[in-house]
């Protein structure tokens, strides 16, 4: 595939608002996970909550979009001059030539969950003020951003569970390569809600303590929330060596089970191999792998198997979900931004918490931060329904 450039990027999660504090947390190997006190949730678990989300207000003329998910999107948009970068791209290319492709799994469904507690006792109706299209519906986050930024190009939400906001990079780069657009706002926004907190609990997939990816005692995920964005454009001729490029996208389906991975990570290996093929690279060209690494016993085992089958046992790899939690539909974009930071800063982030790596997992798991030049990285995202996506990013020089 033809490389595309991340001309601007930003991320907001429990480890930081914007790139500066996110990098600080990664350097300090500090986690944003805390015991869950979200809303009225009464299960014992840890979560990665972004502080101050509900103090944010979306612009008045878009007030029908008010919900935690769009507030989180708005908060992230205001970091790192990202909003201004998108406005500049709009001025450069024209509103109709900038597309919006967002990943989310639950969008603003929290609004509906709350509305169901306020149904009319006589007829069961939802409150008058409840807005379906601009909060609950998956498209609401893409629609919010295109209206907020006055973008008129193609727009869609990709909702493939936990691979959603990795796959938006694939949709956007195809639109760029086909000449349908000249720039794309891509990313993922997923916010805390009862559906996912109680849902993963019902499947016994969430841990009561902070999640421990690849650890010998790992016992489930910690749910987080995040908004992460990138502006994608064709590489500019004067891009310097620090420019970050999307080099490869690989996608596959397990065709195995709705909520369990293929035990040998067959679909995951296919996705990684396809990303390498798309980038015209070999496994030896990859310096660091940001794992999906959710910390469920079966997911990490399957992914380790898949990574080893493609890369052998030498390539350093880690999951950053011990710091951020599993941000579900935002994870692909959040980890893409972490990969961009890894490339820019020469940082391979060690996985948290730094306890005992499961000796039966054969991938080379990094526990401590490593500072070294990083030229190319691969990021994995896998989701329910057996959907897999691997992205390869690299420095221009």
């Amino acid at each position: 595939m033809k490389p595309v450039q991340l001309t601007s990027f930003t991320a907001t999660s429990c480890i930081g608002l914007g790139l500066g504090s996110t990098l600080e947390s990664l350097l300090a190997q500090s986690s944003g996970l805390e015991p869950c006190t979200f809303e009225t949730v009464d299960i014992t678990t840890h979560i990665g909550e972004v502080r101050g989300v509900d103090a944010v207000r979306v612009p008045h003329e878009l007030s029908r979009f008010e919900c935690r998910n769009n507030r989180l999107a708005e908060l992230a948009l205001r970091q790192d001059g990202f909003l201004e970068s998108v406005q500049a791209a709009r001025a450069r290319w024209g509103a109709g030539r900038v597309g919006v492709f967002m990943g989310t799994s639950t969008a603003g469904i929290l609004q509906t969950e709350l509305a169901y507690r306020q149904r009319d006792p006589a007829n069961g109706a939802l409150p008058e003020a409840f807005e379906y299209a601009s909060t609950h519906n998956s498209f609401s986050v893409a629609d919010y951003l295109r209206r907020r930024l006055n973008l008129e190009g193609p727009a869609a939400v990709v909702s493939c569970a936990c691979a959603s906001s990795a796959k938006v990079f694939g949709s956007a780069r195809r639109m760029l390569e086909a000449g349908v657009i000249d720039a794309a706002l891509v990313g993922g926004v997923d916010s805390l809600c009862l559906t996912t907190l109680y849902g993963f609990h019902s499947l016994q997939l969430s841990s009561p303590s902070p999640c421990r990816p690849f650890d010998v005692s790992r016992n489930g995920i910690s749910i987080g929330e995040a908004a992460a964005f990138a502006l994608l454009e064709r590489p500019s001729a004067d891009a310097d060596g620090d420019a970050i490029l999307l080099l490869g996208v690989g996608e596959s389906s397990d065709a195995y089970h709705m909520s369990a991975p293929h035990p040998k990570g067959e679909g995951a290996s296919h996705a990684m191999q396809a990303a390498l093929t798309a980038a015209g690279l070999t496994p030896a060209d990859i310096d660091y792998i940001n794992l999906h690494g959710t910390a469920t016993p079966s997911n990490d085992r399957a992914e380790s198997h898949a990574v080893t089958s493609v890369f052998g046992r030498a390539t350093p790899a880690s999951s950053t979900k011990g710091a951020t939690g599993h941000t579900l539909g935002a994870a692909g974009a959040l980890e893409a931004v972490i990969c961009a930071l890894a490339l820019r800063e020469g940082l391979m982030p060690g996985g948290l918490p730094s306890t005992q790596v499961d000796p039966t997992l054969t991938a080379h798991y990094l526990r401590e931060n490593r500072r070294a030049p990083v030229a190319r990285v691969l990021s994995n995202s896998f989701g329910f329904g057996g959907t897999n996506c691997s992205l390869i990013f690299g420095r221009a020089g």
Binding site: G96, S105, I109, T112, E113, Y116, R117, G124, A125, L126, E131, Y132, A133, H136, N137, S138, F139, S140, E152, G153, P154, A155, A156, V157, V158, S159, C160, A161, G170, S171, R174, M175, E177, A178, G179, V180, L194, T195, Y198, G199, H201, S202, L203, E251, S252, S253, D254, A255, Y256, H257, M258, S259, G267, H270, A274, G383, F384, G385, G386, T387
Partner: protein
């Protein structure tokens, strides 16, 4: 910017529309159209254990996908896929929201697994062994055109043959009052980069700003407006006519999709 592809197979299921040949009969005026509730067949593709777990939205998607791939005489495992739905499984969503509003908040694990927007794509790949890339979109009322655009870029840029499945079902009350999709409608298309012996039409797509085509038959026009996947009807009408021509279909508030259709035989 023009995106070109060949259309090799179609599946349709909707209110009193039982299949693509049945829909052709209605669109060409050979059969009178009186809407009656959509009848969804039990899926024979899935093993019984999985079959029991699926809701209307998955049944609908599997049925039209199966009709289109059979019509195109293409093995599903060879196809990349794009699934696009304006809302996913409304009944499942309602059950989860009801459970979460009760004091004990007991959520069914199966309902939660099925709540992902990509449930139909997951079941399709399990049913058919399709291991290729599969993307799943939502663009509210624009979901059909968004899915078609995504599928066309896969055909054009990656040289893939792609199965597009656009499908919507109703919400029950109380969400139904806020999102009044009345019934189920699904359409599936098999698209390829080069002409096949059984290709039906060549399709050229481009963004435009004119208003979408409407349908002369009031009942069909009502269907087009009521269910997002039925925004495809002006295009399906052009294909059914077996004549060269153009159709403009609804997309975003600021853009529509113009489709030039040329029969292959």
């Amino acid at each position: 910017m023009r995106l070109s592809a060949y259309l090799n197979g179609i599946g349709v299921l909707g209110p009193n529309l039982a299949s693509w040949p049945d829909t052709v009969a209605v669109l060409t005026g050979r059969r009178a159209y009186v809407p009656t509730p959509t009848v969804l067949p039990a899926s024979t593709l899935l093993p019984p254990a999985e079959r029991r777990r699926i809701g209307r939205v998955v049944k609908l998607a599997l049925a039209v996908a199966a009709e289109a791939t059979t019509h195109a005489d293409t093995a599903p495992a060879q196809l990349a896929s794009v699934f696009s739905s304006s809302g996913g499984d409304g009944h499942n969503c309602h059950e989860l929201c009801e459970a979460l509003a009760l004091p004990n908040r007991e959520v069914s694990p199966t309902r939660f697994s099925n709540s992902v927007h990509n449930a139909a794509a997951g079941y399709w790949s399990i049913a058919t062994g399709a291991k290729r890339e599969s993307n799943v979109l939502c663009a509210f009322d624009a979901s059909f055109a968004a899915g078609l655009l995504e599928a066309m870029t896969q055909v054009v840029v990656d040289g893939e043959s792609v199965l597009l499945v656009a499908y919507d079902t109703e919400y029950p009350e109380p969400i139904r009052s806020k999102r009044p999709v009345p019934d189920a409608f699904g359409v599936a298309l098999v698209l390829s980069p080069s002409q096949q012996p059984n290709s039906l039409v060549r399709l050229d797509a481009m963004l435009c700003h004119t208003l979408p085509d409407t349908l002369a038959n009031p009942a069909l026009e009502a269907l087009r407006l009521a269910i997002p996947a039925a925004r495809s009807l002006p295009f399906l009408l052009q294909v059914a006519s077996r004549e060269s021509g153009a159709a403009v279909i609804d997309y975003l508030d600021v853009a529509r999709l113009a489709l030039d259709v040329a029969p292959c035989v």
